[in-house]
């Protein structure tokens, strides 16, 4: 499951340079946040919001809850960075991922739904909501187009899998197919819609999913 499984040596060398640049950029952002720079906070939100949302959505399977919690994660991350709690700048991603996991665990344990540092900053930039609206609308359009390109049976399989959370055995019974066929069609359909969405988003620069993250 390690990254090395699919990365050639040449790629690793390229990645080393990219990693250095990324570390420098992270260091700049972190130091600026400590110094009270709100633009740096904005950059942080832009950089991490979608990763956090993807993680929370996968773990909670509830888009509304994920949207609520992502706000908590961003607030807590910015507060922690303002206090200078990140010691190793190269571990910024892990630091934020850790905060996201803590917020999620706290939510499930019902210990608290608010960030621990309750000095809720009034001056926190509110980019989250605006970004979400635009991004969600774009994703919605692309996803609808990709779904419409699927065979009706594949659409049903994806709906039963992704929305209703049914296992292949149950889907197979309902659709009068064998579980193996359901598994195969599920994997193929997932790959097809994902590829189509990525292709469509590349054609439209404003909706390129990965580009949105790289910015």
């Amino acid at each position: 499951m390690g990254q090395s499984n699919y990365m050639s040596g040449e790629h690793r060398r390229d990645d080393a340079g990219v990693a250095v640049e990324k570390a420098q950029e992270n260091e700049r952002i972190v130091l600026a946040i400590v110094a009270g720079d709100q633009e740096a906070e904005q950059s942080l939100v832009l950089q991490y919001l979608h990763r956090i949302r993807a993680m929370l959505l996968a773990r909670t399977r509830d888009p509304d809850l994920a949207a609520d919690l992502q706000q908590d994660v961003m607030v807590e991350a910015i507060c922690a960075l303002r206090r200078g709690q990140l010691r190793e700048v190269e571990k910024l991603s892990s630091f934020i991922l850790g905060i996201a996991r803590n917020v999620l665990n706290s939510h499930f344990e019902k210990a608290t739904r608010q960030p621990v540092s309750l000095e809720f900053p009034n001056d926190l930039p509110d980019h989250v909501a605006a970004m979400d609206l635009v991004a969600e609308e774009q994703e919605q359009v692309l996803a609808a187009r990709a779904i419409s390109a699927l065979d009706p049976v594949d659409r049903s399989i994806l709906q039963m899998t992704l929305v209703e959370g049914l296992k292949p055995g149950v889907i197979a019974q309902q659709l009068r197919l064998s579980p193996t066929v359901v598994r195969q069609r599920k994997v193929r359909a997932t790959r097809k819609v994902a590829n189509l969405i990525l292709k469509l988003s590349q054609n439209n620069s404003t909706t390129h999913l990965s580009e949105r993250v790289v910015r």
């Binding site: 499951m1 390690g2 990254q3 499984n5 699919y6 990365m7 050639s8 790629h11 390229d14 990645d15 990219v18 990324k22 979608h50 990763r51 993807a54 993680m55 959505l57 996968a58 399977r61 888009p63 509304d64 991603s93 892990s94 934020i96 991922l97 994703e139 919605q140 692309l142 996803a143 609808a144 990709a146 779904i147 009706p152 049976v153 659409r155 049903s156 994806l158 709906q159 899998t161 992704l162 929305v163 959370g165 019974q173 309902q174 659709l175 009068r176 599920k186 994997v187 997932t190 790959r191 819609v193 994902a194 969405i197 990525l198 988003s201 999913l209 990965s210 580009e211 993250v213 790289v214």
Partner: protein, 282 residues
């Protein structure tokens, strides 16, 4: 960023979303896609499909209706057999009718014409939303802060309510004065009881008053109960509108309302839940 081709996401995104990866695998995958925009984009694409399907569920293809339905050969032969029996009956009846003097035996008994016609096609089972309606009595919640005194009639009514006596509740709550602080709560619980007793018109009236009176501890529940009444009446447009209003309040019933709306949309097909009659709830 990285030169990752996204194969890790291709392999892991679906099991990750489905929750079938081990804790260790989840951590590794998260650590990876937090730093890999290619894998993140693929994961997001699959999540977007899930969200879109949840928002706009698709109806099951006609050829894949549930197994419980009879296949065409069964219908064909059943319909044929019934038609043949009817033809024989009618033919025999007419033959007996044209011979007035003869004893007719059992067949001379007055016969009623066949009541039902054999359908040439299997009739589609009508979709009735009442099966989705949640008609349980809502739990009693104090309408004010603990320790504050309540109207005596309200207290009496709620004693009946907690004992499950809906008629007694309605009778007692009818005595609560309109100017009392508990009047709105009284209207809500009366409405819930009327609904439970099957008097949907009275229930709707009371619950609408509560729902439309503005912000109150009972507003969300009133909207939800109104949606249940609309479901009983097989009115998807009104039910949908009330459920949407319930969800918009983001309260305790949001999750239930969302789930019910999804089920309703799945049952009626995408369009029916939104189109249909002019909704009274809008």
């Amino acid at each position: 960023m990285t030169k990752c081709t996204g194969s890790l996401a291709e392999l892991n995104s679906l099991p990750y979303i489905e929750g079938t990866l081990s804790a260790r695998e989840i951590e590794q995958f998260e650590e990876h896609y937090f730093d890999c925009p290619v894998c993140l984009a693929r994961l997001q694409a699959i999540q977007a499909v899930g969200l879109e399907l949840a928002r706009n569920p698709i109806a099951l293809p006609a050829e894949l209706e549930p197994r419980s339905r009879l296949g065409w050969p069964v219908w064909f032969w059943s319909a044929g057999a019934i038609s043949a029996m009817l033809l024989v009956s009618v033919f025999t009846y007419k033959r007996i009718e044209v011979r007035p003097g003869k004893p007719t035996g059992a067949l001379s008994q007055p016969q009623s014409p066949p009541q039902t016609q054999v359908p040439s096609q299997p009739a589609a089972k009508p979709v009735h939303l009442s099966q989705l309606a949640d008609l349980t009595l809502p739990a009693f919640r104090l309408p004010n802060l603990r320790g504050e005194s309540l109207d005596a009639h309200f207290e009496a009514g709620m004693k009946e309510y907690t004992n499950g006596n809906c008629s007694g509740t309605v009778a007692a709550l009818a005595q609560v004065p309109a100017e009392s602080g508990e009047a709105r709560a009284a209207a809500f619980y009366s409405g819930a009881c009327q609904m439970h007793l099957g008097d949907y018109a009275s229930a709707s009236q009371l619950l609408r008053n509560v729902a439309n009176a503005g912000d109150s501890p009972q507003q969300e529940a009133a909207l939800y109960e109104l949606a249940q009444i609309a479901l009983v009446g097989n009115d998807p447009a009104t039910a949908n509108a009330y459920l949407k209003r319930t969800i918009a309040l983001r309260g305790d019933l949001e999750g239930k309302a969302r789930k019910q709306r999804r089920r309703m949309t799945a049952l009626t097909g995408q369009g029916n839940a939104v189109e249909g009659k002019n909704s009274e709830a809008k």
